[in-house]
Symmetry: C2
Subunit: 209 residues, 2 copies
DNA sequence: AGGTAAACGGGAGAGATGTCCCGTTAGTGG
DNA sequence: CCACTAACGGGACATCTCTCCCGTTTACCT
């Protein structure tokens, strides 16, 4: 309740405070690229950002806090969903966007770190869930349009379908740690689409025999 | 090459060494249940196991090492795949088995810890990949039988299909941290099966337009 | 049984990690 | 432009993590 007013950086967010935040987030990402999440130390980030160690502890508290803030920053920059005119194109675009986010350079490293942070910190887990939820719902719009265009059965569960596109990509990245190609991503989109056309995401789909 | 002979516990694996290992793994699992992976400390495990702290460091090296060893222990105990006679039943059984492993009490906590360990330790990541690979290949046998029975199209990629069954479950557990019900698990199996029947896992499936 | 050395256990100590205090800097509102 | 105080920075200090040394226990071989 009173919590927010006690967090440093909320009363005077301009000027120095903003510069410190930018420097720290930049340093965090650099450190992630070089040492990964497990090698991310508050001390090193402070040194790299040219900022007092106390400040980093006070405002972010832990490596997970740093990554979480970095993620919210990147979330604001993420591009809107594509609209190719066909559900096939849209789902492929989604799969490729997820693939790019998970594997491309600095962004990919940050995502991996975010997932690692989520496994050991509740706040990070919430931030990751919220982020995924937002992306999922945005892309679900493409599915709903496709249903209106009669490309997909009426009642198709949009969020579940979009989820089915990215789930195999995350699975490979997190669980089996195989490298994921753009082709893998497209395959995932195509498979989800085939299932959707066959009514797998529509009501009346047999769950219990 | 000479590495193995330098690892403590390999030359005299009987008697005390075995007792120590059992006590440490037991303590590790207890600690995981109570504090999770991030709260797993070598010191506390040593105390709980009634074992010298030096011993835990010497033989396991890190929390990730503890969890990895615990996982290999559990892997040996994991039950073989089901054979219900139909691919529908087999895939459902697989989904339910995965669901049970991920959510049931002590075992579920251990799995979650293993995933956390894999995000920050290469050895743990390898162990997890190897484990998943083995389970995947075992259940792939059910798919191959189904292809022989003409339940599924010829050339269906067995491993990919089994992967598609469990991917959404892992996705929810790791990424979005939603609770996963047995019904969710069955739905996942049914959807993968629908896609497979439609040829989504068989050659000739359109990947590039 | 008895000898040998693998493996264990305790404790000291180096090093990293996180906290606290308090003086200094610089946004912000008047 | 000035006063007020949020936010920062440096450094001392407590704490935890991990390693090392060396004496003790005990599994394994003959």
């Amino acid at each position: 309740m009173e919590q927010v007013s006690r967090v440093a950086g909320t009363v005077r967010p301009g000027g120095r405070t903003a510069r410190v935040r930018a420097a720290v987030l930049q340093a965090t990402q650099d450190e992630l690229v070089e040492h990964g999440f497990q090698g991310l130390t508050m001390d090193q980030v402070a040194v790299r950002a040219g900022v007092g160690k106390t400040t980093v502890y006070r405002r972010w508290g832990s490596p997970a806090g740093l990554v979480t803030d970095l993620m919210t920053e990147l979330a604001d920059q993420s591009s809107p969903r594509a609209d190719t005119g066909s559900i096939d194109g849209d789902l492929r675009a989604n799969a490729l966007a997820v693939h790019a986010a998970l594997t491309d350079g600095r962004l990919g490293v940050t995502f991996e770190a975010m997932i690692a942070a989520a496994t050991c910190d509740a706040q990070a887990a919430n931030a990751l869930r919220a982020f995924c939820r937002r992306r999922l719902e945005e892309w679900a719009g493409a599915v709903e349009l496709a249903v209106k265009r009669k490309e997909l059965p009426a009642g198709t569960d949009a969020v579940e379908l979009v989820r089915a596109v990215s789930a195999p990509l995350f699975y490979r990245l997190v669980v089996t740690r195989e490298s994921v190609t753009a082709e893998d991503a497209e395959r995932s989109a195509v498979r989800a689409l085939i299932a959707a056309r066959a009514g797998a995401f529509a009501p009346g789909c047999p769950v219990a025999p």
